[in-house]
Amino acid sequence: MGPLVPEIISNEFNLVIAFIIGIGFGFILEQAGFSSTRKLAGLFYGYDFTVLKVFFTAGITALIGILLLAHLGLLDIDLIYINPTFLWSALIGGVIMGAGFIIGGFCPGASICAAAIGKIDAFAFIFGSILGIFIFAESYPLFEEIYKMENWDAVRIDQYFSISPELFAFLITIIAIGAFITTTQIENRINNKKVTFSRSQLIKYLVLGGIPFIIIAILTYTPDRQEYIRHQISDTQQQKKCIIKEISSDKLAHELINNYYKINLIDVRSQDAYKEYHLPLAINIPLDDITNHEWKAYFVQKYKINVFYADKDTIARKACLLARFIGKSENYVLKESPGQFRNLFFNIEPPSNDALKTEFNTYRFRVQSARELLYLENALKNSYNLLRKENQK
């Protein structure tokens, strides 16, 4: 699941990718005409709106693409970088950039493309931007206060207006198409061009313009991957189809004592329940959080087995099924509830004198296990704390 950096792609290789992506970026900008200052300025005098068309189409393509990838469960939208909003700095910086745009006839990306194909004015613009950046850096203390004022953090526009991302995508696509039609008319009037569309051209534009709306409709009216998974696991038919491996408390205790490093014992109850009592060595991942990115590592690995437990058998089973959707780890469900486990090991009564020998053996095993489990838990806690202290240094 994306983003691929840093988990799947290393930071080193990422720089190679930066170079390759840059080639694509530069090639397209140059092909689209961003290397011509006359074309860029045309946007503001109405004789050439190419830049607006490229810009808006690119933004909407990427926006709908992100929503689609997130919908399919391929991209975690909570992990991507959202430019933070600092109200005053955005307004002031924007006004200054607008002035730079109309005076210089470039934006930084365009100037670099133009310089690459030999435009002398583009070199002058880049020289100017180096100066501008240097001046800002040197005079930064003067602006620092206003630069950091009104920090709204990484707020998204759909969150700000409390609408769905799909609705925002829909609205901005309508605005863009409206802008494309209007600007084309303005362009033709200013350049004294009479343009008529043939029937086939009209159909082509209608079909192409319809594609974003079809995708947005799909996004809005079909369940996304998360919903699909949740539906699947609550479906009792599906639950029956899937065989879940169970592990008994005795077996678990035995495995933990001998191979604790091969087992993730996962408490899928609420945090409060976990704090009140949990099995030795257990970690807490509440059922609703299992699909969160931070826990993914537990379910994609194949070195350790996961053992889930909860008060209700069905909840532990759901967790186990969810884990199966996320990764390929080996998953088990504890047969007993944590309360039963506690009674079996920690509140155990010695058997009466006339009990069978096997009962005595079980009793001895459980008492011994309880002691060893507590010992293990404390020992591991201790080394973990030492490790954490080491890291803090």
Partner: protein, 167 residues
């Protein structure tokens, strides 16, 4: 190239970037890295003492020239050059509006660049970082910056008309 097709491809490049790296494209950020690296090399003492570089250093523990955007911009230069090559557009030339002198164009380009560089740092990103990438990830600040850049340029277009239009 048809502008909508170019826009679609540009959108795919941006989408790929976000899918792989979790962040969008940029341009002025690379120039910033170069400026910061130059100051660090030329005046290390001043670099240590300045507030701006101190904050930059804190948020960029690696050398400024090893930043993602620097490598991306090296790619941009090559990509644009290749595009110019196949479309036969590579020529040393000064482009300007009709009826202004070369000297004026150069001064305007430097001034414009100066404003743009300064503004891009002020707004935490230029047309690529804040406006285009910001729009793709629906950042409130990014979309606001985009509207202000274009609004400001349209508002000032009348006063700058001599630079671009026939008299």
């Amino acid at each position: 190239m048809n502008p909508y097709l170019a826009g679609f491809f540009l959108g795919l490049v941006l989408l790929t970037t976000i899918y792989i790296t979790g962040r969008g494209l940029g341009a002025s950020g690379a120039i910033k890295s170069v400026v910061v690296a130059s100051v660090k090399m030329a005046a290390p003492q001043h670099y240590e003492d300045s507030r701006f570089y101190e904050e930059y250093d804190k948020s960029h523990p690696e050398s400024p020239l090893r930043s993602w955007l620097v490598f991306e911009i090296l790619g941009v230069i090559l990509g644009a050059f290749l595009s110019g090559l196949i479309s036969d557009r590579i020529v040393l030339k000064l482009e300007k509006g009709p009826g202004i002198r070369n000297g004026i164009r150069i001064i305007a380009a430097i001034t414009g660049g100066l404003f743009f560089g300064f503004g891009a740092l002020f707004a935490r990103g230029c047309t690529s970082e804040a406006a285009l990438s910001g729009m793709a990830v629906m950042s409130f600040g990014g979309i606001l910056t985009m509207m202000v850049i274009f609004g400001s340029a349209y508002g000032l277009a009348y006063f700058a008309r001599r630079l671009w239009l026939k008299r």
